[in-house]
Amino acid sequence: MWQLLQIELFKIFRKPRTYISFGAIAAMVLIIQVALKFDGRSYIEFVLGSLKDSLEIPFDNILNGFFICFVILNLLLIHIPLLIALVAGDLVAGEANMGTLRLLATKPISRTQLMLAKFFAATIYTAMLLLWMALLALALSIYLFDTNDIIVARNDVIEVIKKDDVLWRYIAAFGYATVALTTVAALAFLLSIFADNSIGPIVATISIVIVFTILSEMQIPLYDRTVKPYLFTSHMLAWKGFFYLKTDGEGTSIPGSIENLPAVLKSMAVLLSYIVLFVGAAISIFKRKDILS
């Protein structure tokens, strides 16, 4: 199994399309960093909205590496599924398109092993993409902007997180984002087994993510109870929960706390269930599939 995984990773990282994602993330992160470096004040005023008139804002302190990373995560994580689908949707369909799937399926390895190796390779690719994003969004931002406390605006409330209390939250957030995006990878992987060309599964995955995200964001009470809790997209942004702190009786944030950890863990459990469902279905269908490509 380990050898199969190595082979799958070798194939993924020898494909030029794999590096499109890394290049796109680098470009987007750098564009945001440059914009905030030269016009961060305008962005902070926009984020604070009407609060900026009633507060004396220490712009130089707010505009630090931790804050920039938070901005980048907010802006980018919603778009990363496209980059994940680009590789995960190609895993089986791309092989069928090249004609190599039939050669793989005649090797003395079980189809279950083959599928698991491909899925784990997609998971590692997802994790590496997020690690790359973390390196640029967090490490490079810290290098360029230094560190300080961060402010998190939520429902007209400004929350301040002390800089000593931030780093572990980012590690947790990136870990959560890896699970969330692995769910997208699992969906693309499942759709990939039905096609002989990777365009179909990539477009289908993105379409599903877009439709589900719209449903997740719609403020319709009927959907709040009946649909939203079951959509994986409703749980993909729960990483933000790591940046919401509990408050004491006087309304002061408690360092080291998470406001609603059970909700974050529940969302993660939902995402993990979806991963098991998608990968299980993919293996079950592929095991019985006639390979005609």
Partner: protein, 310 residues
């Protein structure tokens, strides 16, 4: 014990029956020709042998083991090129070979891999990406991949498709080398009778998923059953001149412009001489084989067997 034993194999795709009640055996060191026109069911049968397609019914045993129950053990001893030699175009020939060697559970050294590439004449292009290879080079690399784990049984599905005459000759020589020198069992499919005839020891003709003929090539190409087609301008006159002659009993068919005889191959020249002696205008005398005639009737395309000689 036969290397391959297929019994009552059936495959149905929705309402289309691709393979129907097919049974055959392949013995050790056979070059087993699998002949049929396009769509006859050859590739479907081969894909079932390689577990790419599940049969609707029937049993398949390879090396005395049931394919469904011992898939892994069996596939360790099988190498295959299925239709096109599709490989990873963005990898080099060497990388492709190393990758598929690993997938077969082997840890081959660089020297061993280069030796394999040397056998198929690709050592000097080992580092080039496959996308820069010609069709013939891809086919040779595909064969190297099929042979990398030293299998007992080699399955080649239409291995000469898209190759130039030199490439076709190379594949033919390779098949003969595998069989005669290395004592491998080879199953080779083709829609070209001439190809199969030149390499196979035994063969099966399949049409519309059904077995039409099976046997050793020497049996099926029996020289005593050579078919000779005489083209003449007046068939009635020719028939009257042949009356009571020893060739009359050899006539198997007549048409508006031709008379067909079945004779021994060695008698063809004599037949020609005596037709001329009987003052029958010989516009053409075309020797063939009953199997060729039969195959032509299946394919309905003379071009397929244009190079056939008996």
């Amino acid at each position: 014990m036969p290397v391959v034993s297929i019994k009552n194999l059936n495959k149905t795709f929705k309402d289309f029956k691709a393979v129907s009640d097919l049974s055959f055996t392949v013995e050790e060191a056979d070059v087993y020709g699998f002949l049929g026109q396009n769509g006859a069911g050859k590739s479907t049968t081969i894909r079932m042998l390689l577990t790419l397609i599940a049969p609707t019914s029937g049993t398949m045993e390879l090396f005395g083991m049931n394919l469904r129950q011992h898939r892994r053990e069996i596939l360790q001893q099988v190498g295959a090129v299925i239709e096109r030699p599709d490989l990873y175009k963005y990898l080099s020939g060497y990388e492709n070979l190393a990758l598929f060697g690993k997938m077969s559970g082997l840890r081959l050294t660089k020297n061993q891999l280069m030796d394999q590439l040397e056998v198929v004449g690709l050592a000097d292009r080992a580092a080039s990406k496959v996308k820069t290879y010609s069709q013939g080079m891809k086919q040779r690399l595909g064969i190297a991949v099929a042979l990398v784990h030293n299998p007992r049984l080699i399955i080649l599905d239409e291995p000469t498709n898209g190759l130039d005459p030199q490439g076709i000759a190379d594949i033919r020589n390779l098949i003969l080398h595998l069989s005669r020198q290395l004592k491998k069992t080879v199953i080779v499919s083709s829609h070209l009778l001439s190809e199969i005839e030149q390499v196979a020891t035994r063969m099966l003709i399949i049409d519309k998923g059904k077995k039409m003929a099976e046997g050793s090539v020497t049996e099926l190409f029996d020289p005593a059953k050579t078919i000779v087609k005489l083209s003449t301008d007046d068939v009635s006159a020719a028939l009257s001149r042949l009356k009571d002659c020893k060739w009359e009993s050899a006539i198997t068919k007549t048409s508006g412009t031709s008379i067909t005889f079945q004779v021994h191959k060695e008698q063809v020249a004599l037949l020609n001489k005596e037709l001329v002696a009987l003052n029958i205008p010989v516009l053409g005398l075309q020797p063939g084989n009953s199997l060729e005639e039969y195959f032509l009737s299946l394919t309905g395309n003379n071009q397929h067997v244009a190079t056939f000689t008996n």
